[in-house]
Every structure is written in structure tokens, then in C-alpha cells.
């Protein structure tokens, strides 16, 4: 069902945990749907110095969180913003079709965390075109 890459990131997730004095935090998902993802950012000079995550969800959700945090660590906020869920899934050697939405969560959580940082800095939040991440069921037969 899952690629070796997914299983590796699931069994040995990178960047799990909490950044106590994070300057950007984003949480998406809904416990009702069985998936919540929370991303902590430590941003310095527009660069993501550190990133951590916590996830309540399936194997794909945890592996996507792990991979996504790996992919944005050390990147600029713009680069991080442009990371798509597809890129996350590809980096994991693919996800089963019914699990693609779990990678959407990662993209959404990163966007939220970045905008949280921007607001804290007194900047305009960027426009996010991912909607309905919090209260919409994603478990369709995609």
C-alpha cells in the first residue's frame, strides 16, 4: 500500500515535536475527520531555521508531515509557500489515491504557519487558495 519512503518517514519521522518559542504556528484539519496537523516554524531573516510538526492521523499524514518539514527546512518563506502537496507526495515516491488529501494537509499547515508568522511581523498574510481544510471531510474516493 505504502512506498518504502512513506514507511521510512512514518516509522522514523523527521522533525517531530514542538518549538516552544516558535514565531509561526499553523494547525489544520479536524479531529472529527481523523486528521490534524500542526507545524511550528522558527524563522530568521526570511529563512526557516527550524521546523517541527505534530500530527494526529494515518501513516500517510505522518509521513507527509515528516517529508514536508524536511523539504522546507532552510528554505525561504517564498520557497516554502510554493511547496505543493504533489511535490510532497512525489518526494515520498507517491501516495495511494485515497491518501492524497493527507499531503494536502501538510501544504495547508505550512501556509497557515507562514501566514501566522507574517501577521506576527505585521505583514499582510498571503492569499491561500487551499480552502476547507478545517471542517470539510477529505476522505472522498479521490
Amino acid at each position: 500500500m505504502y512506498s518504502d519512503k512513506v514507511m521510512d518517514h512514518f516509522m522514523n519521522p523527521r522533525n517531530v515535536g514542538e518549538i516552544v518559542d516558535a514565531n509561526g504556528v499553523g494547525e489544520v484539519g479536524n479531529a472529527k475527520c481523523g486528521d490534524i496537523m500542526k507545524i511550528y516554524l522558527e524563522v530568521e531573516d526570511n529563512i526557516i531555521k527550524d521546523v517541527k510538526f505534530k500530527t494526529f492521523g494515518c501513516g500517510a499524514a505522518i509521513a507527509s508531515s515528516s517529508m514536508a518539514t524536511e523539504l522546507i527546512k532552510g528554505k525561504t518563506l517564498e520557497e516554502a509557500w510554493n511547496l505543493t502537496n504533489k511535490a510532497v507526495a512525489e518526494a515520498l515516491d507517491g501516495l495511494p489515491p485515497v491518501k492524497m488529501h493527507c499531503s494536502v494537509l501538510a501544504e495547508g499547515a505550512i501556509h497557515k504557519a507562514i501566514n501566522d508568522y507574517r501577521i506576527r511581523m505585521g505583514l499582510e498574510p498571503w492569499e491561500d487558495n487551499i480552502t476547507d481544510l478545517d471542517d470539510h471531510h477529505h476522505h472522498n474516493n479521490e
Partner: protein
């Protein structure tokens, strides 16, 4: 975290076929393979084997052998029973009563019938998964033609008061079907004493082969066929008889019911040790299903703050086979309808784990699961934002 041993705790999904059963089946593949419906002696020997198996099945549930019809499995038995009764009795009424916690093989048939002019009442269950007999009585109308209520639930293991339901149905002259796919081999069944009119069973749940099951139909009950064609099974179920399957089913049900109490006692003891250990070692855990009226091998618990599919994956890495009611594992929209019906909030239902013990379970398996499960749950909780919130805010 390396381990190669198989720790099979998914007996409720399917069991292995016992070597004794396979042995009984073997001659019927290559030697005694003749068509049981043929005229010649060679075929009549097959016929005799089929009839012996029919008696074995009948005896195990207190029926007469001419009330047993072989089918392909539990799903076919349920489909036939419910559709067959519905179509044959639609002149008398179009109302069916069932429960919210039936297997999909019953629920989806009921939905199908709803799309075809029938009305279905889905009885609710209490927090232990038991129906309310008064609610059942109130649901009966003069259009009710069928009550179909499962004997024991496949997820939470709760055993319904079948004899009482049978009594109510009989008093009101309504046909009563029970899906006993999980019950056979685990609970003593007597269709006469329990007033059961139709009963579904499947071989692969009690160490018989897959691809074979039976429907018991009380003599005199009118029912339409599901599979039309040749005259097999006294013209009620067409298709060349699955000879090895039938013989294996007979052997397996005989073995399962012969040692029922002894077997249950052994399984129940291991189950209780495992369950108590889990409840002791893992905080924020809820037992799902009835504390006593439950299948001897069934454990169903919810671990707060974590999700079931990731739990299964981690268990799988250690060779432990289990199942969950989380939506994430099935790719469906909602978590288990059974867990929702007993009143679990979605997020608690998502964290459910079913461990179903059986003949393959050893005391070492119990020790092992008790050693690794708490660690895995803890590990997943440490990744969970829900747990983090909970720890920060204190118990709510």
C-alpha cells in the same frame, strides 16, 4: 524493533483453516470429485458427503438437515435471507426492522431494499451496543415482515439477546433472521429454542475454508431464490456444489461446537489478561462493547489522541495483525458506523483498535503485545497535537 513472528490477532476477520479440516477436504479435489447432482455411483458418493456435512451443520445449530442450504459465504447468506424474504412477502408488507450496528452485508442490502420500495427501521443501541427490546416492540407495525438482528457484532463483540428477540418475533408472527457469522463457534446456538427462522454462517470464521457458508431456513418459510439456475440445494440455490468446501464446512463446524465451552474458556482467559493489561498500562483508554456480553476473543478499545491506521502500521512492523474502526484505514468518509452507534465521538472512534483472539493466540503473544503496545501508543501520542493540547490544558 525487529521481529519476524506472526502475532495474529484478527481472527474476527478470518481464521486459518485447521489442518484436520484441510485433510478432510483433500480427497474431494482430485479423487472423489464427482458432481453431487449426477446419477452414477461416483456422483452419489459426493452427494453422500454433502449430506453428511449438511447434518453436521444442522446439528451444530439445533436445526434439521433439510433446513440447511449451502452458499458461498456470509455475505451471500445475508443477501439471500433478506432479499429473499422481502421479495417473497412483499404482498404482506414492506417494513423491515434491523439495527444500526449490522455488518455491511445486512446494511447495504437494507439500503438496496429502501431504494426498491421497502421501509427499514434501524434500531439504535446503547453505549454497550445492546438493542432495547421495548424499542424493538414499538417498532413493529402490521407491515413488518422481517426482523434481522445480528447475533454478535463483528467489531465490538456485543452479543444480543437473541432468544428474547426470537420470542417477540414469534409472538407477533414476524420472520426473524440473524446474522450469526461471528457467533457460530463462539456462542451456543439453538435455532429451535431461540425461535430463529433464518441464520447466516460462514466457514472461514471458525477455522473452516473460505468461500463456503450456509443459510438455515426454517421449514415452511417462503423465500425467493437469489441465484437462479440448476436444481441444486433442493432447487433453492443453483450452482455445482462446492464439494471440498462443503465437506470442510461440516468438519469445521463439528469441531468448533464440540469443544465450544472449553475453547471459549481458554480464549476468554487470555483475552481478559490482555484486556486488563491494556487498561492498566495505557491511560486514556476506553473499552468498546459490552463488558460481559461479548464474544470471548474480542477486544475493542479506543486510545484517545491517536489514529487507528497509524497504530495498525506500527503494530504490523512488529508482526502484529489487528484492525481498526478508523476511517483512514478504509478510505471511507466516516469511522465505523458501529462505534458511532454506541455514541463514540468521531475522534475517539478514529483511535479504536480491535484485537480478536483465537486458536492461534498464545500466552507469549499476550505478553508480547502487552510489552509493545503501550510503547507504540505512547510514541504516537507524543506525535499528536491533540495529546499536546490535552497535556497543556489538563484533563478535560
Amino acid at each position: 524493533m525487529e521481529q519476524k513472528r506472526l502475532i495474529y490477532m484478527d481472527h474476527a476477520a478470518t481464521t486459518y483453516t485447521k489442518p484436520e479440516v484441510v485433510e478432510t477436504m483433500m480427497p474431494f479435489f482430485t479423487e472423489q470429485f464427482g458432481n453431487a447432482s449426477s446419477v452414477y455411483t461416483f456422483g452419489r458418493k459426493s452427494k453422500a458427503a454433502v449430506e453428511t456435512a449438511r447434518e453436521q451443520v444442522a446439528k451444530a445449530i439445533g436445526a434439521k438437515s433439510d433446513e440447511i442450504y449451502f452458499v458461498n459465504g456470509g455475505s451471500e447468506a445475508d443477501n439471500w435471507a433478506i432479499k429473499g424474504i422481502a421479495w417473497a412477502h412483499r404482498d404482506k408488507g414492506n417494513h423491515i426492522i434491523t439495527t444500526k450496528i449490522e455488518h455491511h452485508a445486512v446494511l447495504h442490502v437494507c439500503e438496496y431494499l429502501e431504494n426498491n420500495g421497502f421501509e427499514v427501521t434501524y434500531l439504535s443501541v446503547d453505549e454497550n451496543g445492546l438493542i432495547d427490546l421495548d424499542e424493538l416492540k414499538r417498532a413493529i407495525t402490521d407491515k413488518t415482515i422481517l426482523i434481522t438482528i445480528m447475533f454478535a457484532n463483528n467489531e465490538i463483540g456485543t452479543i444480543q439477546p437473541i432468544a428474547e428477540i426470537g420470542k417477540i418475533a414469534r409472538e407477533r408472527g414476524i420472520i426473524f433472521h440473524t446474522d450469526a457469522v461471528q457467533a457460530v463457534g463462539n456462542v451456543a446456538i439453538d435455532v429451535e429454542k431461540m425461535n430463529i427462522d433464518l441464520l447466516s454462517l460462514a466457514g472461514h470464521k471458525f477455522y473452516g475454508p473460505k468461500g463456503i457458508g450456509a443459510l438455515y431456513i426454517r421449514k415452511g418459510i417462503k423465500i425467493e431464490n437469489l441465484i437462479h439456475g440448476g436444481g441444486q440445494e433442493r432447487r433453492r440455490r443453483a450452482g455445482t456444489e462446492n464439494l471440498p468446501g462443503i465437506v470442510g464446512l461440516g468438519k469445521a463446524i463439528e469441531m468448533a461446537t464440540e469443544n465450544l465451552e472449553e475453547h471459549n474458556e481458554k480464549i476468554r482467559k487470555m483475552r481478559d489478561r490482555l484486556l486488563n493489561g491494556i487498561m492498566e498500562k495505557i491511560p486514556y483508554t476506553k473499552l468498546n462493547g459490552h463488558p460481559e456480553k461479548r464474544l470471548p476473543g474480542n477486544i475493542n478499545v479506543s486510545f484517545k489522541f491517536i489514529e487507528g491506521e497509524s497504530l495498525l502500521l506500527m503494530l504490523d512492523q512488529l508482526g502484529i495483525c489487528a484492525s481498526t474502526g478508523s476511517a483512514c484505514s478504509s478510505g471511507s468518509l466516516d469511522p465505523s458506523h458501529v462505534l458511532l452507534a454506541i455514541g463514540l465521538p468521531h475522534e475517539i472512534a478514529h483511535g479504536s483498535l480491535r484485537l480478536s483472539l483465537g486458536d492461534l493466540t498464545t500466552e507469549e503473544d499476550i505478553d508480547y503485545v502487552l510489552e509493545v503496545l503501550p510503547k507504540i501508543v505512547q510514541r504516537l501520542r507524543e506525535m499528536s497535537p491533540l495529546y499536546e493540547d490535552f497535556i497543556k490544558k489538563g484533563e478535560n
